[in-house]
Symmetry: C2
Subunit: 124 residues, 2 copies
């Protein structure tokens, strides 16, 4: 582990070979994980410039302003970085569902004894 990364105050995002960094997006109020996506440098810059979450869509291969079409904008309250600076944590106030299925978050299934089963809780 690189000690210059884990104790520094210098923000040094470690982009992967594909130019992306993983972003875990949580509800700023509850801390619940909403979704996991990726950012390239442009997406991070756009997020910082607007305080609204932007990602890189790997499937569409384009900058993705979350909520631009659905209305489910994610206002960014805080961005954290992990010890080795290869992952970001976005704390957001979501204006709508994070998941394209219309669910509040993307983690609506748990692994059970017979495959996946729905998560039944208030937050899902």
């Amino acid at each position: 582990m690189n000690a210059t990364l884990d104790e520094t105050s210098v923000f040094t995002p470690r982009w992967g070979a594909d130019g992306l960094i993983t972003a875990v997006t949580v509800d700023a109020a509850s801390g619940a994980v909403l979704m996991v996506a990726h950012m390239n440098a442009d997406a991070l810059a756009a997020t910082l410039a607007t305080n609204e979450a932007h990602y890189w869509s790997r499937s569409r291969r384009e900058l993705w302003h979350k909520g631009a079409t659905s209305g489910a904008i994610q206002r960014v309250v805080e961005i954290r970085v992990d010890c080795d600076q290869d992952c970001l944590l976005l704390m957001v106030e979501p204006a709508g569902p994070a998941c394209h299925t219309g669910r509040i978050n993307c983690f609506y299934r748990r692994l059970g004894n017979n495959g996946l089963e729905p998560v039944t809780e208030r937050s899902a």
Copy 2:
């Protein structure tokens, strides 16, 4: 988006080209994000077999039984999968700090106006 993945009850982890899937590990009690790591098929199998989190260490290129040396075992309470099945959410009971720095979680710095600054809250 693949509809056969996002509504099925069949667990179909989508391994990346590198054979890995992203795992976000949260405290089962609080929901707070502890760390983000990766699993290969062996790590997932070992996790399911033991109910203790195993990852693939990309830096050491070896199976990583979390806490095997530090004692900070993560007992897995539940595993969730996201809509397109390319990310896992591990809900764990940690026996110690998730971070190699000794901190409870890896996200102990936030992006401020002058670079990174310490997160000062009970959970960090």
